[in-house]
Symmetry: C2
Subunit: 225 residues, 2 copies
DNA sequence: GTCTATAGGACGATAGAC
DNA sequence: GTCTATCGTCCTATAGAC
């Protein structure tokens, strides 16, 4: 990974001439960055996939890194705008709200196969860029910020709807149970020798399994700690 | 990522002359593969880190890829030998056994910082190699295999110690809650603006948080699904 | 076992015609 | 906007002396 820290945009946002070359490049690049990571992806392969010449990448985008960043930002934008607002939706009770978040999370990950590996490559690298993306996404959604989210959890606890505890652990539970099974999908499919159809079933049942865990815990005899 | 599928070992296992050059290379390579991934890591940087010449890498290891594989295998070996055997330890009841697994998992991840990103890079790539490593590790530990693990879970359910449900969902719960918080550490540290000390605390408290979730669920009013 | 030197190719990026 | 052709660099891997 040889990404540096620069910035500055480039050609117009409004050029949709040329048969959408720019967006074809974006799609092609998404595939290759998702499959090989930033360092493994080849500009030549991206150009071939998009059906254009390699030089076109540098006409539409400043360089490989800017192309990559644009893809990351746009992909994480969608999940933020789609999933997080549920947190501050007032017409649902705590349980309903949390389970809605979990299942919309699961649904979203299911429908966006490339997001999985884009996210993992960034996490692996320590994500200095991803964290700046996440930060600016928080800022771009009015009325949503880290404190607000934790505040909501705090209110649920005070209202007696949720067990008392560190809101961050609470948050980690939700994220972990939703994201990890998608992240590890190829590995688990291979180890458990499942077809992708079987794993899809597993993920479809996942929302219920998580709801059951949240409702009843894991053990039947509930001696406290 | 331009890893191909080859095999065949090389120089002797028993050459510990030369001041442990071979193992110094392994340590250096671990650092760079963990930080940059296979494609991002540079053989020159590994050699420099190990304090040897680049040509030494190719004396001790067939090529970059074989070096990488050896590192992956050895690192995942440790977690397998250390964590999984708890699953088949007979002198503990179900609850005790599961919570032991979780906390030894957490402890292990805490003490092996490089494992985190090595694992994530492999997951991102879809891990065709990692899955073969995991497979052979399962085979290398007598009395441990996928069916055995699920069998244990099945027995716990039949004995009434654990809520009925798909053992695979059960397994996903445990893995998710333990691994994800480590995987996402750098990102969450940045977003939550925590020092690494604070995140360490969070991870130290994690075993108890998971135990509480397993014991009581997440909600106080326990209306069933 | 360890080094120097370099082959040989791949890759990101650009110049310039159309 | 899109192409061809090419530059300059970086990087893995090896040849060969010590």
């Amino acid at each position: 990974m040889q990404r540096s820290e620069t910035n500055g945009s480039h050609h117009g946002e409004g050029d949709e001439r040329g048969g959408g070359t720019r967006s074809r490049i974006l799609e092609a690049a998404t595939i290759h960055f998702a499959e090989k990571g930033f360092d493994g992806a080849r500009t030549q392969a991206i150009a071939d996939e998009a059906g254009v010449n390699k030089a076109m990448l540098y006409y539409h985008f400043q360089d490989k890194e800017h192309l990559y960043r644009e893809i990351l930002t746009s992909h994480f934008q969608v999940i933020f705008r789609q999933v997080f607002p549920t947190f501050i939706q007032p017409d649902l009770d705590a349980r309903e709200r949390l389970l809605t978040i979990v299942s919309s999370y699961l649904g979203f990950l299911r429908e966006n196969p490339h997001l999985r590996s884009l996210m993992l490559y960034e996490l692996a690298a320590g994500g200095p860029y991803l964290s700046s993306v996440v930060r600016s996404l928080f800022e771009s959604i009015p009325g949503l910020d880290v404190e607000r989210v934790f505040g909501q959890i705090g209110e649920m606890i005070e209202a007696g709807a949720v067990r008392p505890g560190d809101p961050r652990q609470f948050f980690l539970h939700i994220l972990s149970l939703s994201i990890f099974p998608f992240a590890a999908r190829p590995l688990l499919e291979s180890i458990w020798e499942l077809g992708s159809g079987e794993y899809d079933e597993l993920m479809a049942e996942r929302a219920d399994a998580i709801a059951d865990l949240f409702d009843h815990g894991l053990f039947t005899g509930k001696e406290a700690s």
